[in-house]
């Protein structure tokens, strides 16, 4: 066990502390989400509270049914929480009207999905560019930024290929490029290594941490793969819809951090990664 297990929730830090520094990239306050009718309620989220600072790479782990996906859906504004607040860059997104949500997703969020979700009729270049064109970025700038980000993420060679002609790792790095090219406030990655072989997974995770370190991207990654989580700077564990534990990497090496994560996973009962 590590020292951090003693602090159940980071929200025990009062809001006043937050007000002094710049607002967190993501701030989840007492969010609850219930499904079902009155007789048979399911509490997917039970008043969860967490913060992600700007420039942080946070992994969220938890066993099946712990509420990871519901949390992700609420943050990505695809679903609305039953109660509580979610602040992105200090702005409460739970009260935004539907039209504003679309604009919010377009301008503030970047997505990476388990099954890539690239448009298979478009080339890699067009898939990346789409994130910019829908923001009405001038065409010349779109072309330049697409080319730049592809070079940085090592997918410049496949830019004119269609998703059907690329490997899984290439597809996911193109998806990463699409997620970051618009400079979003927060990148949400949902099991990004789930459909990749181990080598491609390592390359992608290196890419993500590079994006985090060099491009100052704020990343929230949901995973149940401890290896993937060990690339993050902090790992949050969720159980039964509430924050259960937190592990910070600090100055530790990746292997050491991985060992600490495994400890918590084991403590949680091995239920975290068993359905991977």
């Amino acid at each position: 066990m590590t020292e951090s297990i003693a602090s159940p929730t980071p929200s025990s830090m009062p809001g006043a502390v937050m007000a002094q520094s710049a607002p967190a990239a993501l701030s989840v306050r007492q969010v609850a989400k219930t499904f079902g009718a009155r007789g048979a309620l399911t509490h997917a989220l039970n008043g969860i509270t967490l913060d992600i600072d700007k420039g942080e790479f946070v992994a969220i782990m938890g066993p099946s049914g712990s509420g990871k996906t519901t949390l992700l859906n609420c943050v990505s504004t695809i679903d609305r929480p039953t109660s509580g607040q979610i602040l992105v860059d200090g702005r409460d997104i739970t009260s935004l009207p539907k039209r504003a949500l679309t604009t919010f997703r377009r301008d503030e969020l970047g997505f990476i999905f388990q099954d890539f979700n690239l448009l298979n009729t478009l080339t890699a270049r067009e898939n990346i560019a789409l994130a910019l064109t829908i923001k009405h970025v001038p065409p010349a700038e779109v072309a330049a930024r697409t080319q730049d980000i592809a070079s940085v993420l090592g997918v410049a060679a496949v830019l004119d290929k269609y998703p059907g002609q690329m490997s899984g790792g290439q597809k996911q790095r193109v998806a990463a490029a699409r997620a970051i090219v618009g400079n979003p406030a927060l990148i949400l990655a949902d099991e990004p290594t789930g459909a990749l072989d181990s080598h491609s997974a390592s390359v992608l995770l290196d890419t993500l941490s590079m994006m985090n370190r060099q491009m100052r991207a704020t990343i929230m990654m949901v995973t149940h793969d401890s290896f993937a989580a060990s690339f993050a700077s902090r790992v949050l564990f969720i159980k039964d819809g509430a924050l259960f534990n937190e592990v910070r990497r600090g100055d530790a090496g990746r292997e050491e951090f991985f060992a600490r994560i495994i400890e918590v996973v084991t403590f949680l009962g091995g239920g975290v990664g068993d359905d991977a």
Partner: protein
Amino acid sequence: MTLKLAWRNIRASVRDYAIYFVTLLFGVAVFYAFNSLPGQQVMFDIQSRSTANVFDLLGSMMAFFSVVVACVLAFLILYSNGFLIRRRKREFGTYLLLGMSPGQTSRVMLVETAIVGLVALAAGLVIGFLLSQALVFVTAALFGTTIQQYRFVFSPRACLATVACFVVIFAVAAVFNTGMVRRQKLITLLSANTSNQKVAVRNPWVCLVAFAASVAVIAYAYSQLGESGMRELSDPHFIRATVCMLAGTFILFWSLAGFIIAIVTRSKSFYLRGLRPFTVRQIASRVNTAFISLWAICVMLFFSITTFSCGMGLMGALTGNAREANPYSASLIAYVYSNWDPSSDDPAAGFKEAHPDEFAEGAERSWEIAPLLESNAPQAWTQTVRDSAQLDVYLAPDITYQELVDKLSPAQAHKLSSSASDRVLKANVDLVGVSQVNATRTLLGQDAISLDDGQCAIMNNADVTSDAARELASSHASIRVSGRELTCTGDVVSLQMSDNAVLTTTLTLIVPESVIDSLKVQGAFPHSCYLNLMYADNGKTAAENDAALEKIVAAAQPLSERSAQVDGWAFESNLWPVTSVVTQNEMTEQAGGIRMLITYLAVYIGFVLLIATGAVLAVQQLSTTSDSLPRYRMLSRLGCSEKSISRSLLAQVCVYFLLPLAVAVCHSACAIHVLNESLFSQMGTPILTPILMAAVLVLVIYGGYLLVTYTTARSAVRSAR
């Protein structure tokens, strides 16, 4: 159990079935309405001896084209069914996985189709019944009559035909469906939605070359069509034009997507804006895979537009001059040269041999018909006929039409020789005496013409020879008739020689009476005699006067056996005094009949082809949309506004609908232009009105399908988010 499942499925996929249902409904309604036409009361009211032929023709044409229409609708139903099955592969896979037999599974599909089909059939028959009642009024309007006694008529024959036809189509569809479900492997059924569609990518340079080639082939087809003039279907020019047009259009659609993509993606400032990359790719991938159906749709649209506008134009050409072509109350015609054997020296040999007494009587009476008829029924004649005038047509012994044509300028001569048959060119020129022409003009209330002894005049009113007639007259051509040199007067005399369906006077010479007299001295007699008459103002209807006239003719000669069946040629076996009778009333009715026939056929075929193409496009577009729903969901997640997604959808639907339409309109414009040059302009028919009518038809039906497709696709995308 099967029934319950089928019913629930229908309710669950109402949207998928909607377009299919509506189209089926239209199909059944139109099918019934047009097939019930021959049985309508108004038909019996209007039907007279003179129009019996047209009504028979209408019946058989409707029957023939109903087979064509049935084939089109069968294709449509099979196509839509195939689409519905493809959409629901996963569902069928689940049935099979749960242990239902393939037979049971296909039975569910069968029952669903049957339920939808039966409802459409029943509702379609009701709408068709109402439509057929509306057509009764249209029919009456086309004949220019009003309906005296209106009542609803239900045609069991048409109903039975409709039901039988659709039962057969459904049976075929059922066999196809069952085969399709049975043939599928479980794994492909279950993974139907997740398997990636292979994106067809074509080399842009190959596409560019193919595109240029297709444009060249189509241009060649257009020029060949112009050469052929669309006069004969067996003309090698026409066959070449048809083949090239089909092939060129095919290559055009094949190459278009790749070619356009190559150009559009190169222009960054156009391409990289909003959802354009997505929209362009979405359209291109469809055109890449669906170019065959786009081609078929384009061809069907071409047929639909051309049939409709040309049919309407043809109707105008055939019936537009009905008033002008029938200036007399009635024309009695004696064809003295009937059964003429060209190899014989004496043109009337056949007549003389078969009816020597009649020939002798004609010659004795100097071929004057009116006195003979009047003497046999003096009272009826004076009661019925106000005035009459006869035209006797003689053959010029020493000049043929070929020689007349040779007097024209080379261009005009070429034009005439290419359109006239050899037989006509070899025939001798027709002559009429000026005094008979003037008597006939007086009958019509026109001024007499004067002709000097050394002069002749060109008589013409047919459009096809009007330029030649004008040229002969204005050049004061010199024509040798019966050994005398005659100079043409500068004016063309326009006179219809007898009542007829069209304007028929073509390059007939009016000569001084002395020329005819000298011919008579040489033993010549007219080859045709036209006695034109005007009915007296006796308060009777035209039809009653027609009947009276028939009695007058019958008093002079026995009716032939065929008189009961065939109109016009009532007295065929008697060449003298009257071979045939044509009345104004009869011709007007016939014109109405032809008007009805062509209008109905053009509307029927045009309408069915249009709804078929509209429905196929709608079904294809909706299936694309539902296949692409994950993409739209994705776009929405990425933060695309609903508005921009709707705009992208609209662009896709529009391009998909308007692309084949644009190509078809090009082809139709070419075909109509050629027909206009070779036919309509010569007949003096304006083609603009039929074109506008076709445009309205396309706009309403095709546009309607476009709109419904767009709104349905939009709501599907909205509800999927």
